[in-house]
């Protein structure tokens, strides 16, 4: 255990946890928008996968990571519209249509990869941006301020989202529509428009999350997200539908993962226990769900399609 509590290892664990949490954070944040407005989107992982492939392929061809992120964003946008059409306009059962999107994304991303790329080839990853002055703070500097640009952007999205949700008219409409769509409708707020809006944001962020993941890993492979999209959904519940809570959840998940793997490499967790240790994040999430569920209430209209006058 003492090897773990060395400066280098501890700092690296935390820094690694933060990076690991970034795609979860982005995707979870996007999902939180949708859920706050009453739409559960279980297809996040599929959107992430397609965003990941789009981002990867673009960087492979253009060597421009920002173009890659933009393509991930665009793919997310398109899938956001499609998801919204399915759940808002066609009013499909949200728990299941999302599974469909997931399966489609899982298959389609791999299909495109095999058709267009073939063998995994590494791509440029994000440049690291060391923030002057802050980077020199002992410990903190190394953990927080020597990350890549996307990490900063992701964390910037949190206060931004808090602002959007709490201080803008759009945010107010989101909260109203997720809680009592009839009331919002009676005041001339278009429930469908608001939900399309949040689904677009959600899709976009999931697409970006996928692209960021692939570009950060510098590679693409089938099922590269390994169900991170589902974890992101769980984090929304964990974070009680608040951007800040989602961030805490993503960080905790990242840290738990980083610590478990660090402990494995150090032999603190013997290999025969590694499967059991791998349960930790899921078990912790379930326990957190219990705590959150007893304290916070989900948006009342979550999963319920809106139809005027029954």
């Amino acid at each position: 255990m003492s090897e773990f509590f060395t400066e280098a290892v501890l700092i690296a664990t935390i820094a690694s946890g933060i990076r690991f949490g970034v795609p979860l954070l982005l995707a979870g944040l996007g999902e939180a928008y949708g859920q706050r407005s009453g739409v559960l989107n279980l297809g996040v992982d599929g959107v992430m996968l397609l965003g990941a492939f789009g981002g990867y392929y673009t960087v492979l061809k253009s060597d421009n990571v920002w173009l890659g992120i933009a393509v991930g964003l665009a793919i997310g946008l398109v899938l956001g519209v499609i998801s919204a059409f399915i759940t808002v306009t066609l009013k499909a059962e949200q728990g299941i249509s999302g599974i469909g999107i997931f399966l489609f994304g899982l298959g389609m991303s791999d299909l495109l990869f095999q058709r267009l790329v073939g063998t995994p080839r590494p791509i440029d990853t994000f440049p690291r941006l060391e923030i002057p002055l802050l980077r020199d703070i002992p410990w903190i500097g190394e953990m927080l301020f020597r990350q890549n640009v996307v990490v900063y952007l992701a964390f910037l999205a949190i206060p931004l989202s808090m602002f959007v949700v709490n201080r803008t008219t759009f945010g107010m409409k989101i909260r109203a529509v997720g809680e009592n769509p009839e009331a919002a409708d009676s005041l001339g707020v278009s429930v469908a428009k608001v939900r399309y809006g949040t689904m677009l944001i959600g899709g976009t962020l999931a697409g970006v999350a996928g692209a960021a993941l692939a570009i950060d890993l510098g590679i693409f492979q089938q099922n590269i997200t390994n169900a991170q999209g589902f974890i992101a959904i769980a984090l929304v519940y964990f974070g009680a539908w608040r951007p800040f809570g989602v961030m805490l959840g993503a960080l905790l998940y990242g840290f738990v993962n980083a610590t478990v793997i660090q402990w494995k490499t150090l032999g603190i967790i013997p290999d025969s226990w590694s499967d059991i240790a791998a349960m930790a994040p899921a078990v912790i999430t379930i326990l957190a769900l219990v705590v959150v569920a007893t304290r916070f209430r989900a948006p009342s209209a979550l999963t319920k399609p809106f139809e005027r006058g029954e």
């Binding site: 690694s16 590494p122 590679i219």
Partner: protein, 298 residues
């Protein structure tokens, strides 16, 4: 291997494999081998069949379609294969990686002595490390992966290095493999290796952190300049022999191992990496030692 062996007109090979054909790892190694066979036999591939029942369905399908050789490329496929092979006594099957033919006369078994390449690269790693810390990233402690990891560890230990190894618990979780590599990086590891398709995540970390990498199963040189060398499986050595046997009417009952001795395993250096000459000769000496039995990889 017999260079004169060539597949006859219309010869068909069906391959059933668990991951994608282009995984730079396990599945790709057999597909690459089949594609270099002389006589251009028709290669039919059902990839991504990690579900054993689905794989069984595909194996049975190829047999029923009259494919001449059905390759079940996955040790977990043993259960269904054993049943199917008995239902199609006139079809030749090959099963890897294992050494078990179930005592059936129409099943070949093949495996790789992946510990041999692992050992050699472990020795090289110990010679190249400056911090004397070496890390290995594995998926699940099983089969080919375990053999390789153990071989690499033994080689590195023989060179006096500190070795830590980790099994992430997944063949597919790239991000987790990356985290494992990051953990090693924080522990002053400067040489790493790993096996299975998820290691691409770890190679990425090695590339950015300037950690040396040793690959296995396929040539991973294209993953970066930090790749020193790769152990490459030349399953064609086995396939050519099976091909000639089938033409002689022998449909199975034999078990193969590829290794340095029979050129089924080769070490491919990365041209982009400037390997010190002494390390290269150390590697060649070790290979020779393994071939003549003077070095044990266990």
């Amino acid at each position: 291997g017999d260079d004169s062996v060539s597949a006859p007109e219309g010869f068909q090979i069906g391959i059933v494999a668990p991951s994608a054909t282009n995984d730079l790892a396990f599945t790709q190694s057999i597909v690459d081998a089949a594609n270099v066979l002389a006589g251009d036999p028709e290669i039919l591939i059902s990839d991504g069949l990690f579900n054993i029942d689905d794989a069984g369905s595909a194996i049975r399908g190829y047999a029923a379609d009259g494919v001449d050789l059905v390759i079940a490329h996955g040790s977990q496929y043993g259960g269904p294969l054993q049943e199917i092979a008995q239902d199609f006594p006139d079809t030749a099957f090959a099963w890897g990686t294992t050494n078990d033919t179930f005592g059936l006369s129409n099943v070949y078994a093949y495996e790789a002595a992946s510990d041999e390449g692992g050992y050699v690269m472990g020795v090289m790693a110990a010679a190249l490390t400056e911090t004397n810390n070496i890390g290995i990233v594995g998926p699940i402690e099983t089969g080919d992966a375990k053999l390789y990891v153990d071989g690499f560890e033994a080689g590195a230990l023989s060179g006096g290095a500190n070795v830590s190894k980790v099994y992430t618990g997944s063949f597919s979780d790239v991000a987790l493999a990356k985290q494992a590599a990051e953990a090693f990086a924080s522990q002053d590891v400067d040489v790493m290796s790993g096996t299975a398709q998820m290691v691409v995540g770890a190679v990425g970390v090695a590339d950015t952190e300037g950690i040396l990498w040793f690959g296995t199963q396929s040539n991973q040189a294209e993953l970066g300049d930090i790749v020193v060398a790769s152990q490459v499986y030349k399953w064609e050595v086995v396939l050519e022999d099976i091909l000639s046997n089938i033409q002689d009417g022998v449909l199975g009952g034999q078990s193969y191992e590829i290794n340095f001795e029979n050129d089924g395993i080769v070490l491919e250096y990365n041209d982009a990496y400037d390997l010190p000459g002494d390390v290269e000769s150390l590697a060649e000496e070790t290979i020779d030692g393994i071939k003549d039995g003077s070095i044990s990889t266990g």
